[in-house]
């Protein structure tokens, strides 16, 4: 529909009704007209009020004309309609008025034709859908004047899109309306540029029913005119630009703004309300979930105890070959909790937990909760200063960890789980078994846990029943998770027990979670997606399978684990899932995949749907925020939605609700992008120790009286209440004055069939100098070349949005949380010289230097790392990371060499050691 204007765009039509056949007074009028341009007479074999007659009228009113065309429709029951259609520039209302009064029409005076420039581009808020085009008709009390309507249009348009200066087309040129303080001070001025919205204003009264244009001359055409029914406003829209719902809504808001302009021109422009109370209520209700939440607030240990009572002997946690039943998990956690209490941990205290992802960690987290305390998870892989920051910021006095070198933090005592367990007999620590034999030993690199002997817990340990009753209720914080955010130091989010219980209650029945489910625990405990994995599983009686770090980083091993453990519920970030899609996944038998943590490009799921139809495996995208307890919305994805590359993240979960607001906190109507605010059962208590920041982001919910969280995420509601997530508000950047949407660039790259995943980042050669900013794109290709990708993107993106570089990678680097890690993206590919003239870091003096395997390894390493490599150069010192390690593994496979496990590379980070290892494994 966005092509050139139809001839009908330039036509008006009017209908005048006669009660009976015009053989009396009207006939003379008609004969005069007939002499002017001919009169077509049609007998309609149906009564005037019947649908066929209505269809015939509509057809005649919509039929374009080069000159004046008049048609007389004679209905079967007597009445007649005279329908006149004419191009706007030949239109003469004075003549029409005389016609209606029974006089002969005189010569027309005419209007200049509107410019027929190309349509303005479709606005994002229009939600254009190529659906039906339905004109919207309003009756107005007052018509006002053209200047008033221009001002009202400008105010409404700025509310819909504050970034774009409004240009309004009319049939006598285009106008803009500069900003002013009050409505009355708004004055229009001539403007250039394509007009999205057009205004056709005429105050001459037209007889009969009037159609101001047969097809919209502008994507959104607002006509204000008078016919026999009084002042009317009619809005015609091009459905590819603006959907029927949005057009109706826009018109309603325009009329309301115009009324405010007439009633109180002194109103500040900023104070104008687009919506009345009823509509505000309706829009607020749009962001509420379709189902109510049924939940009983209890503490997490209480909820867990019920599961233990129901299924004490089912396996709760699987870690390697070891397993813990619910009863065992409960008992061990109780013992550890007693130890914590004995160490002085009291209700509401915060306890740091810095352990590898093992069954021991689950026991420890549960123990902290059982002790009435709040757990503060810290990833042992984090840099020391971040660990220290967390310990200090959370005011931790106890940190349960097996890190051999825990950073020094005043007042924070690092203890091992064993030390906690045997607090009463400190001297015997080394002699008795730990909380679990599965735990890694200090000093070891992380390894797969060995078999656990559940009976090995020493009888000398404190009795499970010794944990005293705690006064902790559902409103106490269960955990504090630190989020980095885009600026500043990480901040701790305090989430109470009741939120986690609500999350489980909101999803249990809808997704059928129960004892037969097997969940993966893939994500770091410091990433709140793990809250969903751990407690979603354990509070519904499922079996939680620990995914060790190295397995989580190697897609084929992870796939093997999914198959061998018969996983049913898989939670993934889209980036991590993309890696799983790269390996053969046809044997994977999961029934539910839940996405979270990152925006999802629905198209990437198509290869998955090929092997796993929707009827077998449900795919659900959940948009979520740490501050609102993991998830907010749910969108079940279908092949159809994936093909349509939906940006919808769906409706809120039962108990959660959301609003989209403008910077002033006002509710925005559907279609208009603004900040996503989340209220309801998931809202956290706040930021630990940051009252000011908490007060700024956790604000009163104007509709429910509770607290809502201002997310800093950009989104828009669709008229059906589903949310479109548009990225972070602060991810909008400006380059050379242009507003750049990185997500938009990424979306264009992903449209390329060769591009599997993509990341777009802004790079400044000189961080202080905005002029050095450029856009770098990174893509994972399934074919083709980066040059071709860039060339294709150039056909879609404006110059200022075209990435300066496009670099192909084998995989995008991920953070420990499984999200894209921009800091580990390599420098963009520049034209590189083929000669490496730098010397290797170490000299090759060994006799075995020229063996075939070693030489080929060296070629691969040099190629991947981009530097010459000596036999004893350390992989990590050369800038190696897990991404390069994966690429080296891929290159080895491509060359038909024995495969190299990531873990082995980490243990033997030189070519010489690797070669030895490979040679040994080959024999």
């Amino acid at each position: 529909m966005s092509g050139p204007l139809l001839p009908a765009a330039r036509c008006h039509a009017v209908r005048v009704r006669w009660d009976r056949s015009p053989n009396s007074a009207a006939l003379s009028v008609l004969s005069g007209l007939s002499a002017l341009s001919g009169l077509w007479t049609e007998d309609v074999p149906a009564p005037a009020a019947d649908p066929p007659a209505e269809r015939r009228r509509a057809a005649e009113l919509a039929r374009p004309a080069d000159g004046l065309r008049s048609v007389l429709l004679r209905y079967a029951d007597g009445p007649c309609d005279l329908i006149l259609v004419a191009p706007r520039d030949q239109w003469d209302r004075t003549a029409l008025a005389r016609l209606a009064a029974g006089e002969s029409p005189g010569p027309g005076t005419g209007h200049p034709a509107a410019g027929t420039a190309a349509f303005a581009p479709a606005p994002a808020w229009g939600l254009g859908d190529d659906g039906p085009t339905v004109p919207h008709l309003f009756s107005l009390d007052e018509g006002g004047d053209e200047a008033g309507w221009l001002a009202a249009l400008a105010v409404t348009l700025r509310r819909y899109d504050p970034e774009t200066s409004p240009v309004i087309g009319t049939d006598h040129g285009s106008f803009t309306v500069p900003e002013a303080r009050t409505l009355g001070e708004l004055k229009h001025a001539a403007a250039d540029g394509p007009a999205l919205v057009g205004l056709l204003f005429d105050e001459a009264e037209v007889p009969g029913a009037y159609v101001p244009c047969l097809a919209p001359p502008f994507p959104l055409t607002v006509a204000v005119f008078r016919d026999t029914d009084g002042w009317r406003l009619r809005c015609d829209h091009v459905s590819g630009h603006v959907s029927t719902e949005i057009a109706a809504q826009f018109t309603r808001h325009l009329v309301r703004v115009h009324q405010q302009l007439l009633d109180s021109p002194g109103t500040l422009v900023d104070d104008v309300d687009l919506m009345d109370e009823t509509e505000l209520e309706r829009v607020a209700a749009l962001g509420r979930p379709p189902r109510p939440l049924v939940t009983t607030p209890v503490s997490m240990p209480e909820a867990f105890t019920r599961i233990v009572a129901a299924t004490p002997d089912r396996i709760a946690v699987t870690d390697g070959r070891a397993g813990l039943t619910y009863r065992e998990l409960d008992e061990r956690a109780a013992q550890l909790a007693t130890g914590l209490r004995a160490r002085g941990v009291g209700d509401g205290d915060r306890v740091g937990v810095c352990l590898e992802r093992t069954a021991e960690l689950v026991v420890t987290l549960l123990a902290v909760l059982k002790a009435g305390a709040t757990y503060v998870p810290v990833d042992p892989a984090y840099p020391a200063d971040r660990i220290a920051h967390t310990a200090r910021d959370a005011g931790l006095s106890v940190m349960i960890t097996r890190l051999p070198e825990f950073p020094e933090v005043a007042g924070c005592v690092p203890v091992t789980p064993d030390e906690v367990l045997h607090v009463d007999e400190r001297l015997g620590v080394d002699e008795v078994p730990g909380v679990l034999d599965t735990a890694s030993r200090p000093g070891d690199a992380p390894v797969l846990p060995t078999a656990v002997a559940p009976t090995a817990v020493a009888p000398t340990a404190v009795a499970p029943t010794a944990v005293g009753p705690t006064a902790v209720g559902p409103d106490t914080a269960a955990y504090v998770i630190y989020t980095s955010g885009s600026t500043g130091r990480p901040k701790g989010v305090e989430v109470p027990h009741r939120n986690v219980i609500a999350l489980v209650d909101a999803t249990r029945d809808a997704y059928g979670f129960g004892p037969d489910d097997v969940w993966t625990w893939f994500h770091s405990s410091a990433f709140d997606f793990s809250v969903w994995e751990i407690w979603g599983c354990l509070l519904t009686g499922g079996r939680l399978v620990v995914v060790p770090y190295f397995v989580s980083r190697e897609p084929d091993r992870f796939r093997d684990l999914l198959v061998s453990e018969k996983i049913t519920v898989l939670s993934q970030t889209p980036s991590a899932f993309a890696q799983l899609l790269d390996v053969d996944h046809s044997e994977v038998g999961v029934r539910l995949v839940v996405f979270g943590g990152e925006p999802l490009d629905a198209r990437m799921l198509l290869p998955w749907f090929d092997r796993h139809p929707e009827s077998v495996c449900r795919m659900v995208n959940m948009f979520g925020i740490t501050e609102t307890t993991v998830h907010v919305t749910e969108q079940t994805l279908t092949r159809g939605l994936a093909l349509a590359a939906t940006r919808s993240v769906g409706h809120p979960l039962p108990g959660w609700h959301l609003y989209v607001t403008d910077p002033a906190g006002r509710l925005l109507p559907p279609g208009v992008a603004g900040e996503v605010c989340v209220g309801g059962a998931g809202v956290a208590l706040g930021y630990l120790g940051q009252e000011e920041l908490t007060a700024r982001r956790f604000v009163p919910d104007p509709f429910t009286g509770g607290t809502m969280y201002r997310s800093g995420d950009l989104g828009r509601l669709r008229p059906d209440g589903r949310l479109e997530h548009l990225g972070r508000i602060d991810s909008q950047v400006k380059i050379r004055g242009f507003r750049i949407e990185l997500d938009e660039i990424r979306a264009v790259l992903l449209e390329d069939p060769d591009v599997r995943t993509a990341a777009v980042v802004i790079h400044r050669d000189d961080p202080a100098d905005a002029a050095t900013a450029r856009i770098n794109a990174y893509v994972v290709l399934s074919g083709g070349a980066p040059d071709t990708v860039r060339k294709r993107a150039a056909g879609v993106l404006p110059d200022y949005m075209l990435p300066t570089t496009v670099t192909a990678l084998d995989a995008l680097p991920l953070t420990p949380n499984g999200k894209l890690d921009p800091s580990r993206l390599p420098p963009p590919t520049a034209p590189r010289s083929s000669a490496h003239d730098a010397a290797p870091l170490t000299a090759d003096t060994h006799a075995d230097a020229d063996t075939d395997l070693t030489e080929r390894l060296r070629e691969i390493w040099s190629e991947v790392l981009g530097v010459p490599v000596g036999l004893d150069d350390d992989f990590f010192e050369l800038g190696g990371n897990s991404l390069f390690a994966v690429r080296i593994g891929a290159a080895l496979r491509a060359h038909g060499l024995p495969s190299l496990r990531l873990r082995e590379l980490y243990r033997h980070p030189t070519i010489r050691d690797t070669a030895r290892e490979l040679a040994a494994s080959a024999t």
Partner: protein, 274 residues
Amino acid sequence: MRLHGKSVLVTGAARGLGRATALACAAEGADLTLLDICADLPGVPYPLGSPGQLEHTAALCREAGAAVLTTVADIRDLRAVREAVPRAEDRFGRIDVAVNNPGIAAPSGKPVHEIGEEEWSLMIDVDLSGAWRVIREVGKAMSARRTGSIVNVASTAGLVGYRHFAGYVAAKHAVVGLTKAAALDYAPTKVRVNAVCPGSVRDDAQAEGRMLAEIARALDVPVHEHEKTFVEAQPMNALIEPEDVAAAVVFLASDESRQITGSVLTVDGGFSIR
């Protein structure tokens, strides 16, 4: 409503395939310009469409909800066509679809060397040149608007030979050729030209068709015998109904066939397969 809002011109619209096509288009939401000679032609040994038949077609279309313009014109006369087409364009704003459905089956029934020059010229003038004149007049405006569909009703006689029908067979073969050539001419402007080749169509009482009867008469065989011969010659063992042909025309007229041009669609129960 596959032709909603489209303006369709049908020639030879007073009866037979023309009427059936007009009605099918009306049922799909089209508005119609119905053109017919509404007079007998010297040299054609049977009566052609009448004004009453044309009005009846129009009335049926109006009942189906269409706006209808009737035009009496002889398509052998270029000037008449040049007057009729702008009238339709005035009334409906444009012509989206032109269905060329002129056709006389006789004078026929003799070997080539017995055909007189006037008889030959008359057959070519109506069955072939009549279609060309309409294309000539509607093609320019369609090209300018970069949209339009022209459907030429040819015949299986445009694909194979029939004994003692040299003039008719030559004209219909030429219509197929005209279709392909015009399709190429207009392809750059998105105007499509296609042909429909009906087999033996029943002389439906409602459509008032008489083509089959006239062919039988030209061959001097009883109608029922002639019908029987054709039923046996059509693998699907049935005569074609007028609506079957109209359905093919509607498809080629509608946007459903927007990538189809220069094609020849047979509606012959399999007659031309072997």
